[in-house]
Each structure stands twice: as C-alpha cells, then as structure tokens.
C-alpha cells in the first residue's frame, strides 16, 4: 500500500457516562485510513460506529489511545486546537445534512470556506465551482427547504469538499435518502475518494452502499471484528456510478441510465481479522 496515510488511530478506548452507568463504547480500536480509498464502517446499532467516527473526526476525545490526522498527533489537544485540526484537514457529511436553513446552497458552502478564512469573490467562485461539481449548478440560490433530500445531501458534500480536506467523514450519508438518491450520493463519495490526496470514511448500515466500498470495516460491541477489501470484476470497477464524472451527476440525484451498480459482484480479496 503506497498511498498516503491520512489517519492513524491506535488502541482507542472510549468510556461514556459515569459511575455505575458508565459504558465502554470502544474497547481498543485501531484504524488506519489511506488516501484514495472509500472505507465503509458498518455495524449494528450500539456497536460504537458513531462514537468511533466522532473520535476520528476530533469531535470527541478518546478515554485512551491516540489519533493522528495528516501526521498531527491530537493527543492532549484542547477544544480549540481540535477545531483547528477539523478546519484544516476534515470535511463532514451528516445523515440529516445539517445545512443552515436560512442560507442558500451557495451560502452554505461559502460558510465552510469562511470558517477557513476564505472570503470574497474567490470564495463565491469556489463555492459555485464545488456545487457545479456535485451537479447543482442550477441550485446556487436554492434554500434547503426547497431542495430534495438528495440535493441537500449533495450541498452537504459540496460543503465538506469545498475546503479540499484530506479526510472526509460521512455519517450515514444515505440513511435519510431514497434508493436512487442514496446511490447517487454514494457514487459521488466514491468519485471523491479517487482523489489520491483524500480518504473517505462513511459510517453506514445500508447494504446498498457496499458496491462502492474500497474497504469495509465491521465493528461490533466496540471492537473492529472485520477488515475486508472487496474485489470487483474489472467491468464492475469501472461501472458508471463510482466512475461518474461529478459534472455528469443529474440534479435530481439520479445517475445516468445504465449506471446503477446492481451488477457489481464482490469477493473478499483480502480479509483481516482486526485486532481489538
């Protein structure tokens, strides 16, 4: 594996709650993410997926263990320093989009750029360019309330992408979407993950997302129990959704005809029992 190591988490333990009510949500998880890969983190409810995502995203601090993002050791960093790491290196996509309802699509993306100190005409151009890449060139002025779920999620993806993060974290990105829009968003994330300077990690329990994964981590009861890299038939690897040009995405979230990944077949090329 020669691509760049974007994230390295070692022996992550996280206790939630206090006293008798304390629960050990993560029991010593180690994960590495490399640029150019779409990794899915799957597991049943309560398995620790979101807690792990929060820690990898520097939103929660682990009880013990160490997380390195783009070479930065986050151990012992305070809230503002962690916010700085998020600002410099991460983009987030949330299940319920978390767009600002009072801002239009362009402003939502510009806000993420503003947080990073990018303002003015250049920021506007960059926001529009990113929205165009996700197929929303005609929705710059649309407010979230007037957009479909698929469109809103693509605005959220554009917002996450605008600052060119080295790590994109997505929390159940398809859970609130219908099948077609879900497929379109996953195709988009797979396309984004092709960038050799960026890793994408998506927490999901949606098995329809499996065809897009370069790697699948399974978590159960606070431990990574499975780490597999699906192998696709060459014809399937270049199947339309994952290889779609971002510009080719239709605004309603539906991939072009013939691009549905139902035909993809996966086999486990390499399966690693993760150490817990």
């Amino acid at each position: 594996m020669s691509s760049e190591l974007v994230l390295e988490a070692m022996d992550i333990v996280k206790d939630l709650g206090q006293g008798a009510g304390m629960v050990r949500a993560l029991k010593g998880v180690s994960v590495t993410l490399r640029a150019g890969e779409l990794t899915l983190l799957m597991g049943p409810s309560g398995s620790g997926k979101t807690t792990l995502l929060s820690i990898l995203g520097c939103i929660l601090s682990p009880t013990s263990g160490n997380v390195r993002i783009a070479g930065i050791d986050t151990e012992g960093l305070g809230p503002e320093a962690l916010a700085d790491v998020r600002r410099r290196h991460m983009g987030f996509v949330f299940q319920t989009y978390n767009l600002f309802p009072t801002l239009n699509a362009e402003e939502n993306v510009r806000l993420a750029l503003d947080v990073r100190g990018r303002r003015g005409r250049l920021a506007t151009d960059q926001a529009r360019e990113t929205l165009t890449k996700v197929g929303l060139s005609h929705k710059f002025r649309s407010y979230p309330g007037n957009m479909s779920g698929g469109e809103q999620q693509r605005v959220a993806v554009a917002r996450a992408l605008a600052s060119a993060p080295s790590l994109l974290l997505a929390d159940e990105p398809t859970a609130a979407l219908d099948s077609e829009n879900g497929q379109a968003v996953m195709a988009l994330l797979a396309e984004i993950a092709k960038d050799k300077s960026r890793a994408v990690l998506a927490v999901t329990h949606d098995h329809r997302t499996l065809p897009y994964a370069d790697r699948i981590l399974r978590i159960e009861d606070g431990l990574i129990v499975d780490d597999e890299r699906p192998e696709r038939e060459p014809a399937v690897i270049v199947a339309p959704p994952p290889t779609l040009s971002l510009d080719e995405m239709r605004s309603d979230g539906e991939p072009p005809a013939g691009s549905h990944p139902n035909g993809s077949r996966m086999s486990k090329k390499r399966k690693t029992k993760a150490h817990g």
């Binding site: 979101t50 995502l53 929060s54 995203g57 939103i59 929660l60 809230p79 503002e80 916010a83 700085d84 790491v85 998020r86 600002r87 410099r88 991460m90 987030f92 949330f94 299940q95 319920t96 978390n98 600002f100 309802p101 009072t102 801002l103 402003e107 510009r110 806000l111 993420a112 503003d114 947080v115 990073r116 303002r119 917002r159 929390d171």
Partner: protein
C-alpha cells in the same frame, strides 16, 4: 458570513424579532424619557445660575438652592466691593410668594428681583416686550409656558403679587422652574417691597470679577472677610442646587431609578429572546463547531445578532422618544434630548444587548459538537 448568518437567524423568526424589538424599544423610550426628564430638570434647576453674570454667589449660610435662601443684611455688599479683583456686586431678591390671578385664584411663584441695568441677572429669551421693561412701574416678566398657570392670557394684563398690583410687561420663552412655581421677574426694589425686605437686604450678592481666573482666590478672600454667609463659586452653587433638588428631595433618584428599571426590563427581554433563538439554532452552532469554527466565531454570531437587535431597536425607540420629546417641549416638564444623551443611549443599548447575549453565549459554550451526529 458571520454577519449574514446572524442577520438571517434574526430575521428567520419574525415574531421573535418583533418581541425583541418591542423589548428594546420599550427600554429605550423609558430610559430616554426618564433621562430626558432628568436632563430637563437639571437644566431648569441651574438655568438661573448659568444665566447670571457673576463668578461668585454670596448667600445666607446654609442656602439650599436659588429658590431657597435666607436674607443677607446688605452690609456684606460693601465688604465684598473692597476685595481686590471684584468689579461689581449685584444684589438679587428671590423668594417664593403668592401670585393672584386676574380672574381669581392664586398660585405659588418664585419672585426674582433684579435690576437688568446692573447686568447681574436679566430675563432672557424675551419674546414680547424688552428685558428692561421690568424696571417700569408695576412691570413683571413671566414665561409664556406658565401663562395659563398664572391666569394670564396676554401681555399688559394686570395681576397681583401678594398685595401689590403688577402688569405683565414682557414674556420670555423657555425659562422653566423645576419647583413648578413659575419664575416672575421684576425690579429689585419692587421685589424687596413685595417680599417685605428692608431696602438694603438681598437674597444673593452676585460678584463679578475682573479676572475669572482668580475666582478661587477671591472666594477665599471674601470668606475670610465675611462670617455667617456662604461664599460659593458658580460651579459650587450649581452643584449645591442640583444636590438639593435632585437628590435631597429624591426627584432625581426617582428619575434615575425609572431609567435603571427600563434598562433591566430591556435586558431581560432581549436576553430571553436571544437565549431562545440560540437554543433553536443550537444544532447549527454545533455544525459550525464541527466544521472547525472557533468558539469565538460562534460567539461573534450571537453578539452580531445582539448588535443588530440593538441598532434596529435603537432606531425605532429613538424615533418614538423624539416624538415624545417634541410634544413635551411646550410643557412645564420638558424632556431634553441632547446629542450626548442620544449617543449615551446608543452605547447603553449596545451594552444592554451585549449583556443580554451572555446567557446565550454560556449556552453555546457548553455545546457538545457530537450532537451533530444525533438523529
């Protein structure tokens, strides 16, 4: 974008914005009226002192104000005239007395006996007649604000002060009395007669100096030569009068208390609405935090909302306050809006809204960015 987000959040819920603005507006109008009344009262209390031509006031010992002073014997005048640096000493006769209205009835007035030719204290802002006309037989000057109160409909009307007939010979504009007893100007000797004073007696001796820079030294010299009287600079007499009427009587405390109440009510209303707005937008603030915003950026959004509320509330509140000020101009209790007060009110409004933002900031400081993952 911080400004845009603050603006949109503020205008997103129009009803809440209206409640916020009404709260600020109410506070501004209340504070403006109370402080305007305070300013107006202050002006009324010191107007006689400020319009007198003299650097030093000599009064009976313990005199509380322009309206409430005992009698000087008259011998003091010669002693003061002999002090180096004194160019002129003008006696004034001032006291409460009774005004009998032409059509019957009476009211309390403050009679001011002065000889305009002496240059000590002449009626000012004379809009009908001449300041010197009060030297004519039976002549008095009154302020047009109090014509109805004094039962006078026009100039040349005859009334009575105590037992003496007087003729309204001049009208002034804007010489108002804090005590609500109108000032009535007449000549010094006529005032002495009306007030039952001896020919040389006076209520005040107004001292004019050759060099105003020597005021303190001359005051000390006069003090050394005269006992049983108070010798005050203009500034000291002004302070004594203000202390007596505004704080000795509690009138000023009531006005300032009303203003503080207005500020408190405004602060509570703005704080409540900002807090509920922040609570409604908590998930958005958590998202901002997750995107990497610093706590300072988020505080700025809330403070910007508070600032926008302050500016809008101030504009609306001042518009209403100015209408109230306009209608009070011709009353006996004018509300005074000075540029300093207007600027002070703006700063006060900003401070009020900034303080109101504290509860919202505390709320958002405790925000858990992990709530962005909540379903």
């Amino acid at each position: 974008m911080v400004l845009t987000l603050a603006f949109r959040n503020l205008f997103h819920d129009r009803i809440r914005l209206a409640v916020t603005l009404v709260g600020i507006l109410f506070a501004i109008v209340l504070v403006a009226v109370q402080l305007g009344l305070y300013q107006g009262a202050r002006q009324m209390i010191i107007s006689m002192i400020d319009n007198a031509e003299g650097e030093i006031w000599i009064t009976s010992f313990g005199a509380k104000s322009f309206e409430e002073a005992g009698l000087l014997s008259g011998r003091e005048r010669h002693a003061v005239l002999s002090v180096p640096g004194v160019t002129k000493v003008t006696p004034l006769a001032v006291a409460f007395t009774e005004w009998r209205k032409p059509a019957g009835g009476s009211t309390l007035i403050v009679l001011v006996g002065t000889d305009p030719a002496d240059g000590g204290l002449a009626p000012w802002n004379v809009v009908q007649g001449e300041p010197n006309t009060i030297a004519e037989p039976h002549a008095v000057a009154i302020d047009k604000t109090y014509m109805e109160n004094l039962g006078v409909k026009h100039i040349a009307e005859i009334a009575q002060v105590d037992q003496t007939r007087v003729k309204v010979a001049a009208l002034t504009d804007g010489i108002r009395s804090f005590t609500m007893a109108p000032y009535v100007f007449t000549s010094l000797n006529r005032a002495r007669t009306m007030l039952g004073m001896q020919p040389d007696q006076a209520t005040f001796l107004l001292v004019k100096l050759a060099d105003p820079m020597t005021t303190d030294a001359v005051r000390d010299e006069i003090k050394a030569r005269l006992s049983n009287v108070d010798v005050l600079t203009q500034a000291e007499f002004r302070t004594r009068s203000l202390d007596h009427w505004l704080f000795g009587t509690g009138a000023g405390v009531a006005l300032i208390g009303g203003a503080i109440l207005g500020i408190l009510v405004g602060t509570v209303i703005v704080a409540q609405t900002l807090y509920s707005s922040t609570k409604d937008h908590l998930r958005e603030f958590a998202t901002l935090r997750a995107l990497g915003s610093s706590a300072g950026d988020i505080h700025r959004v809330i403070l910007m909302q508070a600032g926008l509320s302050a500016v809008l509330g101030y504009i609306l509140g001042m518009a209403i306050a100015m209408v109230v000020v306009h209608f009070s101009e011709q009353t006996a209790l004018p509300i005074l809006m000075t540029p300093e007060l207007a600027i002070g009110l703006f700063v006060l409004t900003l401070a009020m809204c900034a303080i109101s933002a504290v509860s919202a900031i505390v709320k958002v400081t405790k925000i858990d960015p992990a709530m962005v993952f909540a379903r």
